[in-house]
Amino acid sequence: MENIFEKINITNLQDAIGDWTAFSACEPYEVDLDGEEQIITTCCRACIANCGVKAHVKNGRVIKLEGNPDDPMSQGKLCSKGLSGIAALYHPNRNKYPLIRVGERGSGKWRRISWDQAMDVIGNKLMQVRKDYGAETVFCTTGGGGNPAIWSISRFANIFGTPNWFEPGCAQCYLPRVSACNMIYGGQDTSIADSKAKDLYDADNCPTKTLVLWGTDPSNSCTASGGRMVNELRARGTKTVVIDPRFTPDAAKADVWLPIRPGTDVALMLCWMNYIIENKKYDAEFVLKWTNLPYLVDLDTKYCLRAKDADGNEKTGPDGFMVFDKKTNSIQELSYPWDDSLDVDIFGEYEIDGKLYKTAGQILKERVAEFTLERTGEICCLEPERIKKALDLYLAEKPSAICLGVATDQTPNSFQAAHAADMIDMLVGNIEKPGTSLQNFPTSAVLHGATNPVPMAPTKLPPEQLPKRLGGVEHKGLGMWHAGQPAAVLDAILTGKPYKPRVWIDRSGNKMAVLGDGNKWEKAIHELDFIIHMYMYPTSFSAYADVLLPITEWLETNLIVEICNTLVARQRVAHVWETKDETVVWSNMAKKCAQLGHEGCQKAFDAEYMGSDLPYWEDETELFDTVLKPINMNWEEFTKAGYYEFMPKDEWKTYDTYMQTGNDGKLKGFNTPSKKLELYCDRLITLARTGKPYLPFPMPPASKDYDPLPYYMEPFEGPVNDVETTKEYPLTMTNGRVPFFHHSTLRNIPRLREMYPVPEIWINTDKAAELGIESGKWVWVESKRGKVRAKAVATENIGPNTVWMERFWFPETLNTETHGWKESNVSVLAKSEGPYNDILGTYTLRAYQVKVYNADSAPEGIWTEPADFKKWLPGGKF
């Protein structure tokens, strides 16, 4: 490896070489000494919710956090993660200054440098690598907890000219649900943890009869917002079904709990559809007129049959789909939205001129037919009667709602699960009605995708770079977020094929704690030339970095946030050390590259050239001033107001949007090309072959077409598909949240760690007895890929063949050989190899095989007693 540090001339610096704690003697530098206690309205970002916060500030120091009762989602509540904001802000081990590595990688020896010097080092390295190997050999990542500037990463990648950025949140978490919903519906997904299913938050006016929490545990994952909301609905009589291998707090309060075998959710979803179709529980009128199930499908091409226009070309848009009219016994062209003179069935097959056609509904019916209650019970390890009980509750009275969580995003069947879950609600007409989770409420149009003010600028990626996206040809669904596939990046580093990535710029909680198969990633890391890590505090990943950049905590951060019908200011209530807002750091990197001659980066500061992608900014408030123009405010005015209601609540809660009349005098329909719900999504075939609608120009086809309907994929490493592995590793692993942490965050917060000092592994009481395992004792948990230790909990709250464990790392062993991530990190056991999800490239983070056996001792050097965490207490009251 090239020694980049020889070229750097560091002068006039405090000669502080040592570990991260060397700088803890300094004091916060912005101190207002007038002594008045101020209460500043802001919102939290300890997870991906944005709960309203009232921060009490005195003498420049945050001394108390309260919930903001005006926030419609959290209604004055905060969870233990949010309450930890002060401890996180004033943590003695914050990243305080830019640091550059001066010892061997992993030795923990650093030297303080200025931001200007850091940008010099980074800019020169990026430009050199771009010149020597191509811009695509730089890759950027984010994730790991509430990343506020998510689109900043994609934007920088596009402008710098690399097609490779990823976050686990693409393929492994949330994108499956976003993209499936986008393809078949065009409205918002149902993820509670991602602040969707917004209609459910107005509990007093929410008529939901049955809420299905599928692979989601809001009480744990988003306690103050979604957890609170579900609790309020339960208190008002909403019945709940919880589908989760683990007996979560929400499962304990459910009317029916389905402890499903991990990784088999799609089988259960197909079973629900089969039951609904067989028992005619679908909303026949709605399905006929507002889904594409009655449309005829050409069984050869698998596309819906389309009428031809005068020039002989297939029609596009909502008109020209073909249906079979029973009155005339013939195929007829359907005019959008519907033709009442036709007599059409949802299910049917018809032979016309010697060729067999089926309706899309018929293909679905045949697809799901094998998933009877009995057969599905066998696949999912559930009693058929129990499945039926859940279904009957869901179907008893409308409206009902399914909210799908992250569980299914973490297996290779990810996209199909999201597709199928939405289909169930759509079949029974649980969509855009008061109390349903599928809604299309208006957004402010100020933020991009209602999430972030930073434009992603996808068209600024040079066209010749797009085909170089790692995993991008095979898994074109990633194109929705213009991202690459983590596993393909890993592979490319290790094999050099199709080319070798060389520089990694990361903004994440702890990549070593969350990426599947950490041991393999560690090998890959040693192959890299240069690693930049920006975060609020050092994590295991920092140990491998060459430059560390100190990033603002949420209490130091400015951002425009959309919550229901309001825009809210997350505003800086304090600022310590030399931390910078990452929205600015990415801009600073682009600026340095521009100065060093990067044409794309130079143009990125030109307002005219950037157009709606907006020019880069010196300061995030400069961007916000521009973004806020539609509401006639600048950032300063906006922060003084604290929030802006872009639409009155009653107007914002718009139901049946597809029944509104559009400008053309016709019903608006849904936001798909056919204006119908495309349950049979033949556009997925087009996506596989070209990248449309996500990529700006056609790409080579994937190795196989994507299936227009969901299909079940048995877990690859599991008791059915891999009997040999299961003999040695008999237990199936699942994960899921505890209420104290978000992803890999907050393991350094004393008041959280004292409650949950070490990771537990839950093992069924009888199974534990069989294996001679006792509660409270340390055990080894081993998969084919590695082994880690955890504390055993023998419990009835997990099935006999399943174990539950959550991701963990130990900040206290950061400066040891393990760097804190090797002791007890469940991700070490997970898979980075295929098979992957065809559309998104998802790998296996849950539903693989492990064995559990007694360990002699706890991992060395970890902290387990409350008093141990004293070293992480900030001075003074917090």
């Binding site: 233990s80 002060i86 009480s219 208190a235 129990r386 409650m755």
Partner: protein, 194 residues
Amino acid sequence: MKQFAIVIDLDRCIGCRAGCQVACKMENDIGLGKSRSVLHTITYGKYPDQHMYYIPVMCQQCEDPACVNVCPTGACYKSDEDGVVYIDKEACIGCQSCRKACPYDAENFNKELRVMDKCIICSHLREKDEKPACVSLCPGNAIYFGDVNDPESEVSKLLAANEGHVYSLNNDAGTNPSGRFILRKDEWIDPFKK
């Protein structure tokens, strides 16, 4: 006489510890390893038909508090004004007799100050007409407080509306705890009844 107490709707408790522990500890400066409340997890039944619920237990503001009876200095006393059991930290000698006498493990010893510490239903906040930290922060909206002797109070009305589903902790010690728990969905299992 007024009797302020904490009333908890257990059907609403989701076991997150945000209000009853984290918010409480931040508001009242409680040190590591100490807490004014303990979360008991109650489980019964076999997989997959088991039950689980949580019982947060803080001081039960007993009518006949054992802690007051055993205190050698009178530091631990029951207020005539609100029925809450307080500790006069000037008078407390840190003998921990009260901790040993309390049948609900609701007293903490503050090692640094060598005095006892317990839930006083955030009297400093009540003085300002604010709610106790656990009450205002509890994400489940499970925790209520008020005068259980006043039939017009919010908590009395809540208890009346849940008649037949109201429980108190084990009274074998004869302390007559004032705290109340509402539980409709599960079977009451007293964590202090052996």
